[in-house]
Point group: C2
Chain length 695, copies 2
Amino acid sequence: MKLLLLFLLTATALLLAAAPVVYGDEGMWLFNNPPRDYLKKKYDFDATADWLEHVQKSSVRFNSGGSGSFVSPDGLVMTNHHVGADCLQKFGSKEHNYLRDGFHARTRADERKCDDLELNVLMSIEDVTERVKAAVKPDMKPEQAFAARRAVMAEIEKESTDKTGLRSDVITLYQGGQYHLYRFKKYTDVRLVFAPEQQIAFFGGDPDNFEYPRYDLDMCFFRVYENNKPAKIEHYLKWSKAGAKEGELVFVSGHPGRTDRLATLAELDYLRDTGFPFLLQRLNRWEVLLMAFSARSEENARQAKEFLFGVQNSRKARLGGLAALLDPQLMARKKEQEKKFRAKAREDESLKDARGVWDRIAQAQKVRAENIRKYTLLEGGAGFNSELFVIARTLLRAAEEKAKSNSKRLREFRESNLESLELKLFSKAPLYNNYEKVKLTDGLTFLANELGAEHPLVKKVLAGKSPSDRAYELVSGTNIKEVAFRKQLYKGGKEALATAKDPMIELARLADPEARKVRKTMESEFEEVQRQAYAQIAKVKFALEGTNTYPDATFTLRLAFGQVKGYEEQDGKHVPFETTFAGMYKHSAEHHNREPFDLPKRWLDKKDKLNLKTPLNFICTADIIGGNSGSPVINRQAEVVGLIFDGNIQSLALDFAYSDEQARATSVHSAGIVEALRKVYDADELADELTGKNR
Amino acid sequence: MKLLLLFLLTATALLLAAAPVVYGDEGMWLFNNPPRDYLKKKYDFDATADWLEHVQKSSVRFNSGGSGSFVSPDGLVMTNHHVGADCLQKFGSKEHNYLRDGFHARTRADERKCDDLELNVLMSIEDVTERVKAAVKPDMKPEQAFAARRAVMAEIEKESTDKTGLRSDVITLYQGGQYHLYRFKKYTDVRLVFAPEQQIAFFGGDPDNFEYPRYDLDMCFFRVYENNKPAKIEHYLKWSKAGAKEGELVFVSGHPGRTDRLATLAELDYLRDTGFPFLLQRLNRWEVLLMAFSARSEENARQAKEFLFGVQNSRKARLGGLAALLDPQLMARKKEQEKKFRAKAREDESLKDARGVWDRIAQAQKVRAENIRKYTLLEGGAGFNSELFVIARTLLRAAEEKAKSNSKRLREFRESNLESLELKLFSKAPLYNNYEKVKLTDGLTFLANELGAEHPLVKKVLAGKSPSDRAYELVSGTNIKEVAFRKQLYKGGKEALATAKDPMIELARLADPEARKVRKTMESEFEEVQRQAYAQIAKVKFALEGTNTYPDATFTLRLAFGQVKGYEEQDGKHVPFETTFAGMYKHSAEHHNREPFDLPKRWLDKKDKLNLKTPLNFICTADIIGGNSGSPVINRQAEVVGLIFDGNIQSLALDFAYSDEQARATSVHSAGIVEALRKVYDADELADELTGKNR
């Protein structure tokens, strides 16, 4: 589920959301504003400050797009296989396919450092709403307002980083209703400890993705190091002896990526008629491209595996979201809600500034719809579709942006973010010429089709050649495949770039003025307008519902909760809350053990050794979404009872509205994890560390 | 290659083409205007009237979208496996997968009748240009002109059918430059004799499609019956003892589907920036849909197999065509050519009517671009994507159109075409509820995305439900799955339809006014305008190049010719003209015998029995395109030396311009066919019939 972040946020700005009156086990709650009363009343559970702090600091964000948690005092981190996959992919070579075959470090010395992985642990939250809002004067034009806000955020972040040494990000909540400063402890020495075969982690493949019942061992373990030693961790989650039980209250602490729960009708219309269809058009295009490329050889398939998984995962998730947007019942609920909000603004004199904002948001959607294709192609990079292009542009822009004062830079080049940016930029992750060429050819073709082959920029970009000839020339000609060369250019700045005349950087230079221009249009005429408007809607929301609510997801730490619970299908069939190893073998047999329903040899050989009644997966009603992948599921004692890895098909509508009728979050069961580690993988040392046997 | 017809022609009108001055072995020649002088001069070959008549009447058109030939006096027809696949797919059931497993009737009694297959043999050609042109008066508006031309064509066809009993079609050549009446003998009792496994017929699958070297046994045999007995055939092709030899002159007699060789620049721009991208968007969408559906179970995969193959085949072909359109060198040649044509029109007073036509064609492209999406969704049916919808609309329109006089009907309902239409409409080919539902859900979603969910027609079509709920309701509720019910409605006409209130027919009724409207717009403002304009361009072409030339492809019989010949890759590597069985086994081993490079068990078992040096595939310079699949390749003596099934990647540009530098047509070698039949399939009786052993 994690890829949502990559495929939607890159092409759009963050959204404000005014949440509905919550009901049932709804909510992706802020750790500084948890639903204590509700938990107390409904579940007789007291979410104490200590409990909250412990869970917060045990939670880990994977900046590659997922969640995780500390599960031992020695820095052991648990997440999903599909979250660790980015690292497994980058380790791979023609000779080694770790994604397919798995990985197991039997000793600490065997643990293998990931190339460009950054983990974040949230240490503190500070409300900086007033300072941010004060920087934007009422008479500023949107463009000025945007720049002023960007400047003050960069300032706050730099001050905080200088003072605390922690990664500091100002997070926009309620899309402008509130601004909180999040400080993270950062880990960049992250080593892979254990991963099973993708075949079992993603058993059932794309057909079973987002389906339930499910049978996936979607787990992966890393260890964070400091000073070349396993980090000593104060807050980590202990292992539950029993694991998840039917009916019990559980919590999910993780990083939901994005929701659009209280987007206005105008924005939902945009998403339904323009945003999602265009995204799906791209995903379809890439899926076909990558499938065709992969079919040509095993080595091609290995190179494209992780990207292909992400594309297929997003495609299925987005189709589910689009289905929700095309569901008249859901849209009727949204209409009702907007009516209520507008009436409140009309009646309440203190909310008079909110009265025109729905129209302003509708107007902003027009700007968005007019610019989204060009924005996605040029600024989002879909018109190039190449890692090498991304590297080239980062080098080009770094030279330009670093020459400016911190407060004037494009946001990703602000001082406090440079370390994270450099980690990515100087990644030693392998790049494959042929693969890059195939993707770049596709990107250039897409660019020509969308803008028209006679568009002046397209003609400049293609330079009198066909897309495939041009891609060949660019990929063969560039030297930025070499990390040392990248470092040299990064250090040398504008002059070094001018001297180098690297063809890929020159390509980025060609496209950059128009890319910056369309970004600026989107920032000032869509993002800023919308942000100011949603800030007003947030006021209406607070006036109607009080402030004990939660904002839309922002890929920052949230607490969700719910019950371990089955559900009824539309035909009345009951779907039980958990599955077992026995069910997995049966599911495989029912599909004649054919891919992707085939099991690794090891699992066939060890079948006799396993307790087949051990639970493998289970579901609960917690409110999650893409980005939550790898989140721990814990009980009242903050013990691990499971590991989130997916949601069922019905959960795909959670992007727009929560429901506990059928929507469920899917987890690996803690008992299944230990049983597999001990009996299938002979990984007793890891199972012991998890369960605290030797502590 | 055959699917081009299905996926491009359905959404556009026929095009005129003015051919360039031919060079080398260029040309898809009319049988009533063959390149006799050129053949005589270059190859010292005399294409006598007898030779031409013999080849013409030995050639067979598969109305499902391919070509074939008679290869025995007892009605045996040779074509490609992928042409026969439509029939194999329709034979299939959950228990039998003939597409995968092949089929072999060892006796005549075992030969199995195809459900809705019509074969055509061209018996005569008559020039009716004057009569058609006379029906259109100079002062008519495009809409009137279109109606008048449609009326006179329907009249001519009906007269001819009444007189001769033959299927009679007026064919538009040079897009309005000429009109010829083609009379076909029709065979509708067509029985399957032999098909190998798809695994060997399409060895290498999508990755090897349109590639060379190649190793496919893409063959299939049918037999036509009359009065329940094998038809006695006067003109059939004898088998060559030697088979294709390097350097020899060969001919291809078949039915190329469509080319755009002399489309104006404005039209090429349209295809490059709008037509091809939109088609590829649809193909990508369907490929992803069908791949995901197929992955869920073997039975799903069986149901979707043939459609999926068609989509993938078209996708690769169209990507090749798009690459040609984005090739500046090709476009420069086109520019040069148009300049010459325009200069001629400017200078030659007798061509003064042609002077404004390039602008008129450019204007017609605007109409086309504005309407193509709606046209494709509503009239082309992409907004429904369901066989059941197609049946429903045919029933609805049949009731309306048959009530009109012959000359006023939509062209497909003209008297002379009704038999062919009924053959399709009353096909017993299986329909699968779940498969139909999945496709219809996709179609309705596509419709909503393209027109916008608030579009009045979309709202009417969805009737307050989500696409998937609506699709479920429609597919479950309709009775037109029953052929008997269809016959009843067809016979009962409007009244029967009104009484039946069948939900799928009511859906078609909802959409039909807008579908007809956009069709009318396209017919009068694009197709008719363009047809009149290209008729003028044809005059310029004849004035410049003489009339010894050929029109663009129209899925009617053409004669191509060329040499059996290898070529040089860009890196200078020589690609030899033929491949062998030994090469096939090697190719499989190099891919670790993994799908789609795995060989059927029979081929592994029989390897020792085979002469591995036997040629399997070969290439030649003949000018072919999609629709030519299944064409016989013959020598000077009109003996079969091969069987066309594909072209190489470079041949995909032939849509726009011929070249013999690298572009090659790919065939199964006649010797490979016989070797496989005798040694692998124990089909001596079939091999004997082909080679005339017992004659």
